[in-house]
């Protein structure tokens, strides 16, 4: 492989890993901080991606939108739309056991996928939306590498925001809820309210990840939002990296995306008639990897480190 194509490959790899890192940090807010179980990540991811696409693409007779707004508006819209869906689901399940949240999120992800697939007027159905542009069109930054810088900037931004939140009193309440719900309630904290806040924040971050994905890939179709890619990989990333730890979430995204890409390179060596089996084999390997981590090292590569206690001034 010549150097230029290797570089292009590396840029695309890191951009994907960066987008997954944003999703994994969103999940970390919900699961790692608060212990809320969301397996509808694909749904929030899809809402973000489609919202940004509809806001920013040029006008089209096939579907609604084509508002031609700038990139930044698309991302803000993606974040808000996803947060709104999170608010609805979170409101319904905030008072219930997390198993109910898991079932409700899988339901909402499936509903969103059905909706995208069947409502052609809004999303162009299975034909998908094409021609979503990268930001900075016409400037030297309008390259894959330029977009990688944008994604990295967002990873850093989300990381610092979440680290701040984690160390704050707000983050401490979330961890308290995760560790001991009755004790937190006894200390006078409204469990449902904190849970809802964490869930909505996580959903918003996932929507942001969806928006970043839309502008990177340039084309959206309902098939991209199957639970496997959207949800399962993100879970494996967070668990492998270390749930509760934002650095773990980022590391997990890079490592697991690397493993996933490597399995693709390996199965590509198989003859083409085995293409569907090869895809199944890759999923099998990642599934087994998850189980091995859960049994042998459930805390992940980088375990959670609670922030140091600050000595109170006398």
């Amino acid at each position: 492989m010549e150097l230029a194509s290797l570089f292009a490959y590396l840029v695309s790899f890191l951009t994907f890993a960066g987008i997954y890192a944003v999703l994994a940090m969103g999940l970390n807010t919900q699961w790692g901080f608060t212990g809320q179980f969301n397996i509808g990540i694909a749904g929030f991811f899809a809402v973000g991606a489609y919202t940004s696409a509809i806001l920013t693409t040029p006008e089209s007779p096939a579907y609604l939108g084509g508002l031609g707004m700038p990139f930044a508006v698309g991302l803000v819209g993606a974040t808000l739309a996803s947060a709104l869906i999170g608010l609805v689901i979170g409101r319904i399940t905030a008072k219930l056991r997390t198993d109910y949240l898991a079932i409700a999120t899988i339901g909402i992800a499936e509903m969103i996928r059905l909706f995208i697939k069947n409502e052609d007027w809004l999303t162009n159905g299975v034909r998908g939306i094409a021609g979503i542009e990268r930001p900075f069109a016409g400037t030297p930054l309008d390259t894959p590498f330029g977009y990688l810088l944008v994604v990295v900037a967002f990873v850093v931004l989300v990381y610092f925001l979440l680290e701040r939140a984690y160390a704050s009193p707000w983050g401490r309440v979330l961890r308290a809820i995760r560790e001991n719900e009755p004790a937190t309630a006894a200390a006078g904290k409204s469990i449902a309210r904190f849970r809802l806040q964490a869930f909505v924040l996580g959903a918003a971050i996932m929507g942001l990840g969806g928006g970043l994905y839309a502008h990177f890939f340039g084309f959206l179709s309902p098939e991209a939002f199957m639970p496997l890619y959207g949800t399962f990989l993100v879970w494996v990333m967070l668990i492998a990296g270390g749930s509760g730890n934002n650095r773990g979430a980022i590391l997990g995204a890079v490592v697991v995306w690397g493993v996933w890409t490597l399995t693709e390179l390996t199965t590509d060596l198989l003859p083409t008639e085995y293409a569907t089996q090869a895809a199944a084999l890759r999923v099998l390997l990642i599934g087994v990897l998850l189980q091995v981590i859960l049994v042998t090292r459930p805390q992940g590569i980088l375990p959670e480190k609670p922030p140091k206690l600050i000595a109170r001034k006398k």
Binding site: W235, T276, A279
Partner: protein, 289 residues
């Protein structure tokens, strides 16, 4: 009027399938305290085990049913002993993640072994019975058998839970885990029996679904949401509630095709579930939370 009765019958067939899945989900939740996300893929695997018996031994689908149920019960116990048992001591929510991973492992195994294209148990069309008395109502014999056999299985589960020592132990564990353990109930054995029943009923659901429609590696995954909806509606941890929930969800899903696009059938199950979670999260029959 005739159309409505016809759709009601389809709804009861779907309801039977959902009930078979929901009883297992409900019992596993009651005893192991986690939502078993691989249950849909248990259904799929059961259906494909049935397919193998039909293809290799030339059995008819109805005789393959018990074979698939036994096969899937064995697989369920093996999965529990190999994997779930090792992480049972940690929080139940880790089991939830693990079962979600197991769902994908099973699905990809099914794709590897049986391929990912649609398959059927028997080719050709079955001629329905025409009931002239009821204004030319058409009933497929398969549908009658599906409803009757699932009623039989439900009666069997009921007798097991109420008349046997093991069944009573299971209900005790589901009602009050600590009290049951203190009074010396063999927890490991109860758990294994739970997986046997859950696995066997999931296989029955899968074979019914295969007889009624076709086999596909995601057939169970797409049925998982209505199955959970049925379990929640009936009160999770309540096997009897699961039957009521299954029938309500199944009939509502089929009836909805009179008003909205059939593509949104799963949305009906989801909507009923959400309404239930808002107004009565414990289900029709008060569940174990």
């Amino acid at each position: 009027m005739n159309d409505i009765i016809q759709i009601l019958i389809y709804g009861m067939v779907l309801g039977s399938v959902l009930s078979m899945g929901a009883i297992g989900v409900s019992m596993i939740f009651g005893i192991l305290r986690f939502a078993h996300f691989a249950h849909g893929d248990f259904m799929t695997l059961g259906a494909y085990i049935g397919l193998t018996f039909i293809a290799v031994m030339g059995l008819s689908p109805w005789f393959a049913l018990p074979a698939a149920m036994i096969g899937m019960a064995v697989v369920a116990v093996v999965i529990d002993q190999l994997l779930y048992r090792r992480i049972r001591r940690t929080q139940p929510v880790i089991l939830l993640i693990s079962s979600f991973g197991m769902a994908l492992i099973l699905r990809s195994l099914i794709q590897l072994i049986w391929g990912s294209e649609n398959q059927t148990y028997a080719s050709g069309i079955q001629f329905p019975w025409r009931l002239d008395v009821l204004g030319g109502l058409r009933i497929k014999p398969d549908h009658v058998w599906i409803v009757l056999i699932s009623l039989g299985l439900v009666a069997g589960v009921h007798l097991f839970l109420t008349r046997t020592r093991m069944g009573k132990a299971m209900r005790a564990m589901s009602d009050n885990m600590d009290l049951a353990l203190v009074s010396g109930i063999p927890a490991e054995r109860v758990i294994i029996v739970t997986w046997i029943i859950g696995g066997a009923l999931a296989a029955a659901a899968g074979v019914f679904l295969g007889i009624d429609t076709r086999l596909h590696p995601v057939m169970g995954w797409t049925t998982l949401l209505p199955v959970f909806a049925a379990a929640i509606l009936g009160g999770i941890g309540r096997p009897y509630g699961a039957i009521v929930g299954g029938m309500i969800i199944g009939i509502s899903m089929e009836m909805s095709t009179l008003f909205i696009s059939a593509a949104y059938k799963p949305a009906v199950a989801f909507a009923i579930m959400v309404i239930m979670l808002i107004f009565r999260p414990q289900g029709i029959f008060k569940g174990t939370l």
